[in-house]
Symmetry: C2
Subunit: 182 residues, 2 copies
Amino acid sequence: MTADAPGHRAARLAVPGSLELRIVGRARTPWRRREDAPHQPAAAPDARGVLEIAPDYRAALADLEGFGRIWLLFLFHRSRGWAPRVKPPRGGPKRGVFATRAPNRPSQIGLTSVALHAVDVARGEVHVSGIDLLDDTPLLDVKPYLPMVDAWPEAGHGWLEPYLAAGVEPRLKRPLRPMKPR
Amino acid sequence: MTADAPGHRAARLAVPGSLELRIVGRARTPWRRREDAPHQPAAAPDARGVLEIAPDYRAALADLEGFGRIWLLFLFHRSRGWAPRVKPPRGGPKRGVFATRAPNRPSQIGLTSVALHAVDVARGEVHVSGIDLLDDTPLLDVKPYLPMVDAWPEAGHGWLEPYLAAGVEPRLKRPLRPMKPR
């Protein structure tokens, strides 16, 4: 965002033109089609990927190597707008989108954690595994995963609990519709 | 973002004007000044807060109640631009900002998890605790915390390990400078 744009009043922040969302890089992954991509990293622990960080942001990668996992904030760039309720991949009724990790969110920002293998600061390359992003996904941020604040194994799974208890797996996605010509 | 904005080519996404970041609500918290706010939710487990969700987005809160924790994506609205390296609150040399959770990020988006207590979909109120956000923080997204993909207690803490092992606590922040008049 620009230096003087974000005030602390709602009116200012509600103006879309006053915000700048920086794309810091791209994910290179084995997943070219939506129907191929796993739903979350745990589903594809061996999937290797490389985060290509743009030259302007490479210095910010210093000290990242050594963490076991990192968070990626990214744009659901293939998503088409948002919906208040969505069909979950494990079936059942539509659920409020804030109660899911589905792409169709008001701010179409995704969150995923991946295992970190190596960081080449000079080349702007971050080598990861367990990545569920589509190839070419725009990255907004990279953050270290900190177990002391991020690991809550007993937090429960809300409405998903009965689906997990019954061993229901996510269903395959529908094939990606071709992009409309611009 | 607008319906036709996000293409899959870098050129399009690099244009700030083509993206719309929706502010879905505001956090109401006890923390009015930067120097008062805890560094992460674990530092203030009893701090209560309310997420006020704007009318357009309230229907998306359906089914959220029942989760133990939720993720909040928010704007660091008091942050002033980004820096590739930042001084960590536990001391030591500057670190690459992608290796920290500091506010001074290229896309000034923060990530925190809070304990969920109650959801009033009709009023657009989400009652939480363990919140480390400043009062009035703009919210970009609410997502359920899913231990099956989010809980990695053994991931390690990278360069922070020796500071944690030595029991070094974050130092107090400097007082907030007054906002410049507009």
